[in-house]
Amino acid sequence: MSAAVELAGVSVDFGKFRAVDNVNVTVQPGEFFSFLGPSGCGKTTILRMISGFNDPTEGVVRIGGQDMRGIRPNKRPTALIFQNLALFPLMPVWENISFGLEVRGVDKTKRRAKAEELLNLVDLHDVADRRISQLSGGQKQRVAIARALAVEPKVMLLDEPLSALDLKLRQHMRAELRAIQKRTNVTFIYITHDQGEALAMSDRVAVMSQGRLQQVAPPQEIYNAPANGFVASFVGEINAFQGELSAVSGGIGEFKTANGLFRAKVGPGVSPGIAAKLYVRPEHTILAAAARPGANNIPVDVADVAFEGNFINISAKTSDGRSLTVEMRNDGTTALPPAGSKMQFTFDPAKALILADTTLPKPGNWP
């Protein structure tokens, strides 16, 4: 079976600005695939390219193995869900949903029946004859999904459709979207800047920055084994230390920083002499009364303790004024260190990563 969507060496230029830079990625049929990145990273351009509204400057887009060059958006087997949904306000709900069928010349009774069927699929009832303006945010979301599903696309493209919803509804819709995707087995390509959304819903995530793919991997791998400094710092909270890698033995490197010499796992493509940083997640660090042997230790002053319920967020300051974050799980008996107390910020070498520092923007890429 050929890939649902394949981007082969795709680049997009807007004048002198390169929005997408040599992207190669293959999305499998039935996959829930996300492009994750900050705004302006080129993810929306990729989506518009797959749906046919933009053309690649270089490279080829294939859908179901077929070269999409010269095929217009209305002839592509894709359906796009817009960020603002773009429902037609002058048509009732059912006509919105069946618009794609109307275009294909399906007669009215069949269209109506299909619209009802899709409304059931997205768990909306008794709204077929309502106006779009009479629906709530979540209901509009479902209508947009039903409208896209009506044309039986091979690929569904979603452009941050949840961003307009409030937090509760957003979390609910995440699960719902995932369920609809599994039920229909349509390939979903999801664009978001919200890492929580990408990690929670996707089979695989592509992290993008400045038009380039930084890492394509399942969510756990993105979070636990980021490929470089950008992925590490964009996805989730992380403590970063600047320094220099001196020696490597058995996958563990020695890293010299202003706060001392630390030991950590060496990430892919990192060797002494390459600009790198040491990264450790707040939940992999411990605030201890005394230095722990075998671990990396930094003396700190506790600056702020935020009790969040299921976990405790502690911000600590090193002697040179750097702010570090520790996250502790609350097991019901966890003692909170008082603000101002002197503690040791410690982490195990196996939990920290030395990664190539790609957080700095490449000169020349931005106008």
């Binding site: 749906s51 046919g52 509204f53 217009r72 958006p73 209305n74 002839k75 894709t78 359906a79 796009l80 817009f82 603002n84 773009a86 429902l87 037609f88 002058l90 048509m91 618009f99 794609g100 109307e102 275009v103 294909r104 409208r147 896209a148 009506a150 044309v151």
Partner: protein, 294 residues
Amino acid sequence: MSELLRRYGIGLSAIFIALTAFWLLMLVILPDLYLFENSFRPYLPAVDVGGPKDFYSFANYLNFFQTPIHIQVFGLTVLFASVVTAICFALSYPIAYYLAKVANPRDVATLFLLLLIPLWVSEILRCFALFIMLSFKGPLNMTLIGLGIIHDPIRWITAYNSLMIGLVYVYILFMLFPIYNAIQSLDINQIEAARDLGSPWWRTHWRVIIPHSKPGIASGCVMVFMLSAGSLFVPSLLGSTTSRWFTEIIQQWMFDAFDWNTGAAYAFLLLLLCIIFVSIMMRVFRVSLADIAK
């Protein structure tokens, strides 16, 4: 009101309001009321005005319904004003769509300027210019012959042809701008969503863009229709020997027959009948007044 007072003080606010009131009352309301009152009175020699023969009646209005030729001219006026409106719409819609959604936003200001410059020239002058352009041995025919498109000159100023060309030319911008505004307010995602769902361009226009711009189309149509039906200069300058326009009859009552009373009655009839016609059309196309006011 309180905002006006706060910003300009009592003195200046009073002057603003007084000036506006003067304009509205003395230059708009009173003249119309005067004509309206006159339209119910008979046309009499000066000695009889205010005498026993001077009483209110519908005689001037009934005169219209008892004169078949006037009814016929009115019918032709409504018919050809409708044709002018339709032509204006057919020409304006593609231009408005191009300006609102296709053209590079940087060029739109220039394009608008090009459209507006002719409007700075007075309507009468433009009609004279068009009269010369359209004449039998005028520039238009000579150019067409020169290009080999036609062999013999075409008689443009005949029947209602030149009149309609003139009305379209003079009033087309009143159609273009409201439609442009309406299309401009449409979210581009709506158009893209329709295309993405497989819609060909004509269906996107029919189902998404035109329904959205209906208020603009309606106000453009009402404006062009009313202006065309009420135009006097264009028919008197560009009309042929075989074209008759209802406003010309009003003018003849007033300035040839000096019967301002019947002329006023005909003018109000024109207004009333046009309002009725427009209301019926709005009902047919399912447009409400509130849509137009938007």
